[in-house]
Amino acid sequence: MSQDNAPAPYARRSRFAPRWPRKLLGTLLTIAVTLLGLLFVTFMIGRVIPIDPVLAVIGERATQAQYDAVFLELGLDKPLLQQFLIYVNDVLHGDFGRSIRTGQLVSEDIKRVFPATLELATLGTLIGVFIGVPLGVLAAVYRDSWIDQLARLVGLVGYSMPIFWMGLVGLLVFYGILGWVEGPGRLGVFYQGIVPERTGLLLVDALIAGDWTVFKDAFSHIVLPASLLGYFSLAYISRMTRSFMLEQLSAEYITTARVKGLSEWDVVWRHAFRNIRIQLVTVIALAYANLLEGSVLTEIIFAWPGIGQYITTSLLANDMNSVLGGTVVIGSIFVGLNIFSDLLYRFFDPRAK
């Protein structure tokens, strides 16, 4: 089913402005409203949680005087709404505050951890797409045959496995026993700091620097967690592809294509697949967004210093600045991907114009 992934209907246009600026304005307004809401909810959660943010700063041994000083410093004496407005104002100036936990600017932290997640999620999604889509198409074409059943089983296994358990087992087998891949972390210790950091994406940086040994090592580190995440999203992508394809393959225009004497390959890929591309983009965007936010457990197990782990650890340490910052980033990406797939939809589907 595709309904749940349908791009969000964006706010109604005002009556006055001409068409496309109005559309743009509406989209921007929607993003703004959504993000503001996101900020508000996160902020409220941060304040409602019955954990003392001051304690997170000063730790177990502090005296009451130190406590009071930090209380004032964090602006906790001000009314909630004012605190929120101050926060929004800061965020608008690109200032997410300082992380209590790492002692660094949250924006710096995110600049560091986000590329790690981005790299992992991107590779994971690519794996998911390159295996999941053909698998889904095959399953649909050979509906109810053993291929379909196999694809279903493979997909559902991916959907059902506890990812943290598979992570540990994968690590044990492929790293511990077989030694096919490198272990936890993003890069072997000897390779650290060799290639200059440009994008923060190690694979890309290594390519830019033309350093193959670093590239190989980084790839060997990422391949296992990425495959796991890929497998997880593969499940979702292939199930969705299958149901989209089934819908298209039963459409009348497919028979038309067959009547023309087209080969099966053309019928499936040129005709049916063309029609699901756009739905598929939405699904892939969603899967991608899910990997960006949802790989916390994988990150922990593979010691992957990514944003999921960052936010979770921060949350457990009640480091709300980091949590808010990370959430805003992930939320924005989510909204961004949503809008991107919406735009793609408008751009590619001749019917949407």
Partner: protein, 507 residues
């Protein structure tokens, strides 16, 4: 395989917030600090039992009245920047810690230093002489032990002040940068990921064998072990007992045990009627399977210990009066006012070893007839409740803040004002609402006793009473088990008194 001049360690280091010695108060931070900053006095990693030794200060003199200590600075210590270490640097560093008044500052301020008087009380007379004035007489060992703590690290005044912003005395810069005279300097720190240290080219001591040290943050024990087995790391510091057991069996790997200062204890809130009944407390203390836990899931990582001073500390009490004895426990409970034992809630934070201990307590106390439930929360959550004195039983761990017996005596056995208003959250006795005016006096008396043996005796007596009457059920002392490649020698994580030292390691 790791290169011969490089040490790779897997450890949980996500608690590092800063490297600034005036602020740093975490285990992983202390490890870094010890290798980067030198102190006036310090511990020799190869002979920790010898106690503090001269380092930046080559000698010191105590005035007649015991309130003034004059240090003479040693030659040949140079900061990584190339600046020599002077008394001005030392004075600046200590004043700075007092003035910044961050969490660990109490270690210094307990001697009467305040942000206002710091410039007078801590003073560099010349490049070589530092004079410290205390508000009263203290045991010299107490003072010097405190100066050997992380907060006693001496920073490079010139470099730090160059990087000052908004009058913060360089504290923003020192979070992520180091300016010390120790064997190493931090080259790169990626929070939750790794710390990279290289040699300090100006280090005055012998050139360490390890020219580069990398500490990687690896959360999972299984992951650390796999890395060790594959030779990707030299040392794994957080292996579970089961993983340790297997490493012991593996060729080419070895395990080194080191007693740490961390205690595992439970404590009962004295505001709760039933839990303030001494007989109930006694019953609870008898019905803990100390040895069973130490031999099973805590195997090798904790040793049974029942006094508030950890072994290897001055005056540590080795007696372990309580065993797992259900008969005695039942008898004690029967004598109490609560023979049926009411509901008990154990607050425990979300760490697996603590949850395991809590489950064992739940099991054995359950056999007494108590209805025990657990609430697991994040560290901050449980601590919050503890500080607000809302818990029933808190299952916690306590590590000494500085290498002097007062660190634990001052919190387990001191409670100057038990009122809610006083908010004396720094004292564990207060957190458990345990009102002990006499014991407080006794503990404070030990602080000023300058004769070391007498002082030790005072602490032993204090602990003996404490063991029997306190609402604290101290159960275990931590043993850190480091698993490492056979070739690694001299890795010492600092025992109960200090942190890890990398500069003596060879392989």
């Amino acid at each position: 395989e790791t290169p011969p001049n490089m040490l790779v360690i897997a450890n949980r280091i996500d608690d590092i917030k800063t490297f600034d010695p005036a602020e740093s108060f975490e285990f992983a931070g202390a490890d870094v600090s010890r290798n980067v900053y030198e102190k006036l006095v310090n511990f020799d990693p190869l002979d920790l039992d010898a106690g503090f030794q001269p380092e930046l200060a080559e000698s010191w003199e105590v005035s007649e009245d015991g309130t003034t200590i004059t240090f003479t600075m040693a030659e040949g210590h140079v900061f990584a920047s190339g600046n020599p270490v002077t008394a001005q640097d030392a004075a600046f560093s200590l004043q700075r810690a007092v003035k910044l008044d961050k969490t660990p500052s109490f270690i210094l301020t307990q001697f009467g230093f305040t942000p206002d008087n710091a410039e007078e009380t801590i003073k560099a007379v010349d490049d070589k002489t530092l004079v410290i004035t205390l508000d009263q007489k203290y045991a010299v060992s107490f003072v010097l032990n405190c100066l050997a703590a992380t907060i006693g690290g001496i920073v490079d005044m010139a470099t730090v002040m160059e990087n000052e912003t908004d009058g913060d005395m360089g504290s923003a810069w020192l979070r992520t940068n180091t300016a010390g005279s120790g064997p190493y300097k931090v080259v790169d720190w990626k929070p939750d990921e790794s710390v990279l240290m290289d040699l300090n080219p100006n280090y005055g001591g012998d050139k360490p064998a390890m020219e580069r040290v990398i500490v990687q943050h690896i959360q999972e024990s299984a992951t650390q072990r796999l890395q060790l087995e594959r030779g990707d790391i030299d040392i794994a510091r957080n292996l579970s007992p089961e993983d340790i057991a297997s490493v012991k069996e593996t060729d080419g790997l070895k395990v080194v045990d080191e007693l740490k200062g961390r205690l595992m204890y439970w404590s009962a809130n004295q505001k709760k009627d039933m839990l303030s009944d001494p007989k109930v407390l006694e019953a609870l203390k008898w019905s803990v399977d100390y040895q069973g836990m130490a031999d099973s899931f805590l195997n090798g990582q904790y040793t049974v210990h029942q006094a508030f001073l950890p072994l290897t500390f001055l005056g540590a009490l080795t007696e372990k009066p309580f065993t797992y004895d259900m008969d005695k426990a039942r008898a004690a409970l029967a004598e109490s006012d609560h023979p049926d034992c009411g509901p008990i809630v154990i607050s425990v934070r979300d760490a697996q070893d603590r949850i395991d201990i809590a489950q064992s307590l739940q099991n054995t106390w359950g056999q007494l007839g108590c209805d025990v439930t657990l609430t697991v929360g994040t560290g901050a959550q449980t601590l919050d409740r503890y500080r607000a004195r809302e818990h029933d039983i808190y299952l916690g761990a306590w590590g000494p803040d500085y290498p002097d017996p007062n660190t634990n005596a001052g919190t387990f056995a001191v409670n100057p004002d038990n009122s809610d208003e006083s908010g004396n959250t720094g004292y564990l006795a207060w957190r458990n609402a345990w009102d002990i005016p006499e014991m407080t006096q006794e503990a404070l008396a030990a602080v000023v006793e300058n004769d070391t043996d007498t002082r030790a005796g005072m602490y032993i007596d204090l602990q003996k009473t404490h063991q029997q009457v306190s609402p604290f059920g101290i159960m275990f002392q931590q043993i850190e088990q480091h698993a490492m490649q056979d070739s690694v020698e001299n890795f010492i994580s600092g025992g109960a008194t200090t942190a890890a030292s990398y500069w003596v390691v060879t392989k």
